[in-house]
Amino acid sequence: MRANIVKLVYLVTACMVAGVLYLMSFGAAHSTTPPLKSAKVNLSDKASLQRGAAAFRDYCFNCHGLSAVRYNQLTKIGLSEDNIKQYMLTTTTKPGDMMTVGMNAADAKKWFGVAPPDLSLMASAKGTDYIFSYLNDFYRDETRPTGWNNRYWPNAAMPHVLWEEQGTMVPIMEDKPDPADHTKMVPTIVGFNKATAGKRDEAGYEQLTNDITNFLFWASEPDRQSRHFLGYIVLAFLLLLAFLASKLSKNYWKDIH
């Protein structure tokens, strides 16, 4: 009887593990957001970071601040102090200032319904794949006040600021099973067509959005690479310490029988 109870507990535990495994696979398949596209971030590619900084200034900086970054920290992506003064500063800002946005938060709320978030840590909060996917997914949607929508942040208040570069994309719709209820069919976006051309072709636009993503990744931790470098040194040192400590311990424990 006791043995059977114990077996029952084992069985129940196994069922729970099975349940959890089911949940792990179940969760992934039923997300309504499309899978993320991979961004290729590379903090050593200074050219990309500089292009990204320029694009950020041209398209993003009107609404989104980068208030944890100082202008003079842009020297870390290879810009000289003169470059920064000439290309990045505004008439009222100095190199030591933080990159705060000109738009007043209260006005922003009035105009957009929500204040555009500061982007200093967006790469850490959402991940670079998300940002890249997001920038590549804007499509025409006449039902929205801005005329644009995005599958990665549905009904965003943000318009497609890069539309002149990409051109306008219109969704191709097909009826597909509703993820929430497989018995129903709902019109689903299966792809995009380019209705009007932009300044860049597909590869060029992908490079632009990748550069912006790369720049935001840099901005989330400007000297990330030095952390890795220091890390190798610290770990090598600790390996040595552990080795010496092991030998010392073994030496003492020879006394113990």
Partner: protein
């Protein structure tokens, strides 16, 4: 292990203790480094101490602009020709006429002359308005001649209200006053004839 001999064991123990101890000490120092480093002025503090630009286009002879650099008042005074010319006349009344004993920052080499300023613009005097006694900010007393606590032969300069120290129009302290040293002269340079930048010179930012 092969070493069974207690003497060998002890020898090894000693060596290992020294080696491990040494490496641990290095480790402890490394661990403490970010803590000690965090005490140093941060980027924000250093940005707050960045050089300051001053426009002197409207500065007339005998007038003074007060600006701020690193939290302290900095005076930019345009001496009249007469004021500048008379600077060496009262050298005997000064405690350190040749500015050999600086207060908190070294005198920039381009100011090591009788005017204590850049010779190409010998009328423009830049000095830190902090009394070298206990740190009050002296008042400008540019008019010549005595009156109040000022001596008869007063050439024009500054009087500190706290304990009565006096300084001339080149920031040099008079003898027998509580303040021991001349006023500091910060590094500065002319970006144009009408604009100076304080806290920066040919050598870079201070």
């Amino acid at each position: 292990m092969s070493d069974q001999n207690p003497k060998e064991l002890n020898e090894e123990r000693r060596k290992l203790l020294i080696a491990t101890g040494g490496v641990s000490a290095l480790g402890a120092a490394a661990f403490v480094t970010p803590m000690v480093a965090s005490f140093a002025p941060s980027v924000k503090a250093k940005a707050g101490g960045a050089p300051v630009e001053v426009d002197i286009a409207a500065l007339k002879p005998g007038e003074q602009i007060v600006t701020e650099w690193r939290g302290k008042p900095v005076w930019v005074v345009r001496r009249t020709e007469e004021m500048t010319a008379k600077l060496s006349a009262h050298n005997n009344d000064l405690a350190d006429p040749k500015s050999e004993k600086p207060y908190s920052m070294p005198l920039p080499e381009y100011c090591n002359n009788e005017f204590r300023c850049r010779p190409e613009h010998k009328d423009v005097m830049v000095m830190v308005g902090v009394c070298t006694h206990l740190g009050c900010s002296p008042e400008g007393k540019f008019k010549e001649g005595g009156g109040g606590s000022l001596p008869e032969a007063w050439p024009g300069g500054y009087l500190c209200p706290c304990h009565g120290s006096t300084f001339d129009l080149a920031g040099r302290v008079f003898k027998n006053k509580p303040a021991p040293q001349n006023l500091d002269v910060p590094p500065y340079m002319f970006v144009s004839d009408t604009k100076i930048i304080i806290g920066k010179d040919e050598k870079g930012e201070a």
